[in-house]
């Protein structure tokens, strides 16, 4: 097996996708080294890559039965079984070898591999084997093993027997390690006590520990254990002592105190504890409201809202703090209390410009507007409310001049509320509203360059208006990097291949995706450190993080976009991306098929995207009517990815017949629940479906359906008469998807040429020609049509800003001109792509 030169050649061939020559080279090696299990395993791996899945599995199982012990062979077999979803076999490979040979080296490498793969069950099994074989002169291995038993106890995929056994074994193992030395060892112990249902015992152990040493983690587990033990008396007493003796003013303590009190009916006593707490802290003020929520019998409810507002009405936390409690008081009463604050703080003088506002005035005013907006849904389409917000903005914008440049200015929230109203007020033609919003927010961002909500809204608005380069500008100004690329890149890359299939966008995507390059390696490196440094309370989080980052939906959606851009630009070297997409296809299980059981993190994609941040200002709710206008099509879910990949794999046709049938089924299923796709995406899926049915099932009626699909819908997607389509992202999205459909039909004809007879082939080609002719004819008209619309649009916008007696945003004509000019340049560059189709 030490034939490095030949091994390298084989792997070079694999990397280049030349599986046939890899196989030939491997066969030679098998002949040369007939006793080496490694080349047999490698041969199976190549078979698998080359599409001969069943053969690869059969051979690998045969090889496994011989119980090989060579590390590289085991690693390959493990990989093969994992790739085909035979999870148990992937573990058994090592398990059997360790049982038979029981070599420490072998077990250690199994453990290391499990760390590398974030494979929780294998970690548990290998660490068990380590304890049995390894050096137990210290507790080290036993601690690792008990930790792994604890973590594995949380897996869904466990058998009934394992579910029962793991916590018990874990507890026994950690009890063997007594006396425990530090908080991290205690963490394992009490967590295992909890897993075994010994809640009270866990609480007793922690109490004793906390007498010696502080530890936040254990303190929290103490509260939870008493909760789970339903020992309300002790929970109440402990919380009381945390608050009154140790002065731990923490919401976890307050909320547990109140929960215990409700269960004990100790309302009056709790009220006294809150009253007597020496600091009028935010937690304390909210504890009154929490108490009322649990026991709706307190009188003078308003009083508690008043006392909170007296102190925190001028803090931005006021809105999110009170929002969950607004159900317990009628809205009108609440607004009256707030109005009293407004009048007692003489906000009228600020609005009349009789005095300069303070920071406190500003925040109170912002809170006032937010509560109004939240509690009166009709404000969303109320023009006067927009005027009111603008008045508030103007009255407070002086503070922009005195604040530190990098400090937060809450007044921008008036404008963000305003923008939402403008969009919600738009009837049919949303374009002029999008323009207005951009003008307003561009002005705001000029005054407050560091405000990130403004920037994110601008990214979204510009994307909606088909202005990638401008969206990009604001996105870049946010300096989004590292992990943020996973959670935020959807704001710029959603459906990008159908908007901007350019080399530039591909470069941006490639740069952004680099965050994933070393992430598995880095995470597993530090995961290992959590064992070595005994940071046991972090291990589970690392495993979860590793899996969620590795199986990120955003990551694979972005790879899909990269694949599509490459395809659009006729790049053929896409094997590396396709390999990644095949992984994601396996992970993107249709949840309906999996309803029977929930999936562990290693079996599914993880959606880490942050959609909340856009709505993190204003009233902390996404507003559907607004969202619909600004977002780039429906939410892309796992089903979206799975369906789109099925479509692409069908078109590539490089898989076996039975896979093609599954891909077709996936498309059929997705078309039944079609809320994941834009209209043109749905149309494309239908086209591919009919083609596939025609070819795979020999169903001739599909050709007729294809014909009607193409004839009936073409005008809809390639229309240049609708201003909304013409001026927004939909223009590129529709044209590029139709073009992609054209190319896909061509590929389909090529790949399945044996199954399509001459006559049918001609018919398909004619239809396809119709498609591309129409597309090219219409794309010639776009420029003229757009300039017509733009002329009218500019007039409308200027009129709205400059000659509007009802509303004055203090925006000059030249500012509007400037915005129009940059939008023109940016969107023309996007639209320019269509001329090259």
């Amino acid at each position: 097996m030490s034939d490095n030169r030949n091994n390298e050649l084989i792997f070079n061939a694999i990397d280049a996708g030349s599986y046939k020559s890899a196989q030939a080279l491997c066969s030679k090696q098998m002949k040369r080294y007939p006793n080496s299990s490694y080349y047999y395993a490698l041969n199976n791996y190549i078979l698998l890559l080359n599409g001969s899945k069943e053969e690869a599995i059969r051979n690998s199982k045969e090889l496994m039965a011989k119980i090989p012990s060579d590390l590289s062979t085991l690693e390959l077999l493990n990989l093969i079984f994992k790739k085909v979803g035979l999870y148990n076999e992937s573990i058994e490979v090592y398990e059997n070898a360790c049982k038979k040979y029981s070599s420490l080296n072998l077990i250690q490498s199994w453990f290391d591999l499990s760390l590398k793969n974030f494979d929780i069950l294998s970690l548990q099994k290998s660490s068990m084997a380590l304890v049995q074989k390894g050096d137990n002169s210290t507790n080290g291995l036993k601690l690792w093993c008990s930790l792994n038993l604890l973590i594995a106890s949380g897996l869904e995929k466990l058998t009934k027997n394992q579910k029962y056994l793991f916590p018990k074994l874990g507890l026994k193992m950690i009890e063997d390690c007594k006396p425990l030395k530090n908080s991290q060892e205690y963490y394992i112990y009490v967590s295992l006590l909890m897993k075994n249902g010994h809640f009270q015992q866990a609480a007793d152990v922690i109490k004793e520990f906390l007498n010696q040493e502080r530890d936040l983690e254990l303190q929290l587990i103490l509260l939870k254990s008493l909760n789970d033990a339903e020992n309300w008396n002790e929970l109440f007493d402990i919380c009381d002592s945390f608050l009154n003796v140790h002065r731990i003013d923490d919401w976890n303590v307050w909320s547990n105190l109140i929960k215990a009190a409700s269960n004990l009916g100790k309302l009056d006593q709790t009220l006294k504890i809150i009253d007597n707490f020496p600091i009028a802290s935010r937690n304390r003020q909210l504890a009154y409201l929490e108490l009322i929520k649990h026991n709706q019998q307190l009188d003078h409810l308003e009083r508690y809202f008043e006392s909170y507002l007296d102190i925190f009405g001028t803090k931005l936390c006021c809105f999110p703090d009170l929002k969950p409690f607004l159900l317990i008081l009628e809205s009108e009463k609440f607004m009256n209390i707030l109005a009293k604050q407004i009048s007692s703080r003489k906000i009228e003088e600020v609005l009349q410009m009789q005095r300069k506002p303070t920071d406190n005035d500003l925040i109170l005013m912002v809170n006032y507007m937010k509560f109004k907006f939240y509690l009166h849904q009709d404000k969303l389409t109320n023009f006067e409310f927009l005027q009111e917000n603008l008045t508030y903005y103007k009255a407070t914008k002086y503070l922009l001049n005195v604040k530190e440049k990098t400090d937060y200015f809450a007044g921008d929230e008036f404008l963000l509320i305003g923008v939402q109203i403008i969009i919600a007020l738009s009837k049919q033609d949303e374009i002029s509203e999008l323009f207005k919003c951009i003008v307003i927010l561009e002005k705001a961002v000029e005054r407050d360059v560091h405000e990130y909500h403004l920037r994110l809204w601008l990214v979204q608005l510009y994307s909606a208006l088909n202005c990638y380069s401008l969206a990009r500008l604001h996105y870049d100004s946010l300096k989004i990097k590292f992990i943020q690329q996973d959670t935020l890149s959807h704001y710029i890359f959603t459906r990008i291949s159908s908007l901007q299939p350019s080399a530039g966008a591909l470069k941006d995507l490639t740069k952004s995706q680099a965050v994933y390059d070393n992430s598995d390696f880095e995470t597993s490196y530090f995961l290992q450190k959590t064992y070595e440094k005994q940071s046991f309370s972090k291990t589970n989080g690392f495993l979860e993080f590793g899996l969620r980052f590795s199986n990120s939906l955003a990551k694979y959606l972005n790879y899909y976009e990269m694949y599509k851009i490459n395809k659009h630009n006729k790049q053929t070297n896409v094997n590396a991306i396709l390999d990644k997409l095949r992984i994601s296809y396996k992970l993107s299980k249709d949840s309906s098929q999996e309803l029977q059981r929930s999936l562990d993190l290693d079996e599914k994609l993880s959606d880490n995207r942050d959609f909340k941040i856009l709505w993190d200002c204003s009233i902390l709710d996404s507003i559907e009517v607004v969202d619909k206008v600004i977002k780039i099509g429906p939410l892309q879910t796992c089903i979206y990815l799975r369906t789109m990949l099925s479509k692409e794999f069908l078109i590539l046709g490089d898989e076996q017949q039975d896979n093609s049938q599954i891909y077709l089924q996936n498309i059929e299923q997705a078309l039944k629940v079609n809320n994941n796709f834009t209209e043109v995406e749905l149309w494309q899926l239908r086209v591919i479906r009919e083609l596939a049915i025609f070819v795979l099932q020999n169903e001739s009626s599909s050709l007729l359906k294809l014909e009607s699909l193409i004839n009936n819908f073409l005008n809809q997607f390639l229309s240049v008469d609708n201003a909304t389509t013409l001026m927004t992202w939909r223009l590129n999205h529709n044209f590029i998807n139709v073009y992609d459909t054209f190319k896909s039909i061509q590929s389909f004809q090529q790949v399945y040429k044996k199954q399509i007879n001459k006559e049918a082939n001609k018919k398909i080609s004619d239809l396809n020609k119709k498609l591309i002719d129409k597309l090219r004819d219409n794309s010639v008209l776009i420029k003229a049509k757009r300039s017509e619309v733009t002329k009218d649009l500019k007039l409308t916008i200027k009129n709205w800003f400059l000659n509007n007696p009802k509303i004055d945003f203090e925006i000059t004509e030249s500012f509007i001109e400037g915005i129009f000019q940059s939008i023109k340049e940016s969107s023309e560059s996007s639209v320019g792509i269509l001329r090259k189709l």
Binding site: Q212, E213, W251, P324, E404, A410, F482, T523, K533
Partner: protein, 200 residues
């Protein structure tokens, strides 16, 4: 409503409201993971319940990343990052996080450090006020600290040419163990050093 809870690796997915702030540093993933694995109890966050789209969630409102390092009398606690989401500022949260860190490391068990320190950009007036209120004082000015933080030593830096935009103040607070307050000094703002002089 604020609770202090230990930071977990998965919290890295939830920090946007805090980390999009222009003064808050976004580190590479491994850097956070290193802090979590090396100093698990010195990395924690504050969190609050929020109602978003009718769902009651908890959201991080700020966090503290700390570590311990140094030999003998230099054995100290270092604040690597403390930052608060704009919605939760001016409530005393940053002060609370700093105090929590101090309490966790000042006592004999398990850390028992001599002092706490941090670096702050000389132009970050808000943060400097915050630390002064908490009892920190300037120990020295690190000239060109933020222009060399990429790890490359910049030999061009002249110790006497100060610039608030790229210089850092090293601020310190001495703890119980530093009985004679040997770890702090008066008029530290006049004491200039180069970045390579502050490595432990």
């Amino acid at each position: 409503m604020t609770s202090i809870v230990p930071f977990q690796a998965t919290d890295l997915f939830t920090l946007n409201a805090i980390n999009l702030d222009s003064l808050t540093e976004n580190f590479q993933v491994f850097f956070y993971l290193q802090y979590l694995s090396d100093w698990p109890s010195l990395f924690f966050k504050s969190e609050s319940p929020i109602l978003f789209n009718n769902e009651l969630l908890t959201t991080p409102s700020g966090y503290m990343m700390g570590k311990n390092e140094g030999h003998s009398k230099e054995w100290h606690t270092h604040i690597t990052a403390v930052t608060i989401s704009p919605t939760y500022r001016r409530l005393g949260l940053a002060s609370h996080l700093c105090n929590h860190l101090q309490k966790s490391t000042e006592e004999e068990e398990p850390y028992y450090t001599y002092f706490i320190d941090l670096f702050v950009r000389c132009n970050n007036k808000l943060a400097i006020t915050l630390y002064e209120k908490l009892g920190y004082s300037i120990y020295r000015r690190v000239v060109g600290y933020y222009s060399s933080s990429s790890g490359n030593i910049n030999y061009e830096i002249d110790k006497n040419k100060t610039n608030d935009d790229v210089d850092a103040f090293d601020m310190r607070k001495s703890l119980k163990r530093d009985v004679n307050h040997e770890c702090v000094r008066e008029n530290g703002e006049k004491f200039n050093v180069l970045p390579e002089e502050v490595r432990f």
